[in-house]
Symmetry: C2
Subunit: 85 residues, 2 copies
């Protein structure tokens, strides 16, 4: 693994785990009022396309990051739906 | 431009413009209470690393997407700071 791939993997880890504190906050406050439906819907579709793109250019960091991010985004959308804000 | 690059560019456009409705919502409600500081801080650092990674593997969609996303994330952080939620 070269250092470029390491930067990509760290980048992917950060932009994926970034959603964890948002999920923690939602679970604590049970409020998603200030989160935009459109943001998370458009973002999720984009992540699915990034995943396809990553698979096509065969870049492991892009694939890994987007699988994880997709799970977190779907979780946030689930809470947004659940709390119906 | 081949179709793989087009998928990457569309993906990049979606995960970048996704932040626009969030910014619009913040400007309308003047509230960022439910947005997690940690999410946007960690995400922004990740985006900066994606930008470096994109430049290193010389993938234009990765570079373009992350420059635009960075501007939007900094805008959201600015509002989060401004409204001090």
């Amino acid at each position: 693994m070269d250092y470029i791939e390491i930067i990509g993997i760290v980048a992917g880890i950060l932009t994926s785990i970034a959603f964890i504190p948002q999920i923690v906050r939602i679970r604590k406050t049970k409020s998603t009022k200030d989160l935009s439906w459109s943001m998370f819907l458009v973002f999720t579709v984009g992540i699915i396309l990034w995943l396809i793109y990553g698979a096509m250019i065969n870049e492991f960091p892009v694939i890994l990051a987007n699988v994880i991010t997709l799970v977190f985004c779907l979780t946030i959308l689930f809470y947004k739906f659940k709390y119906n804000d």
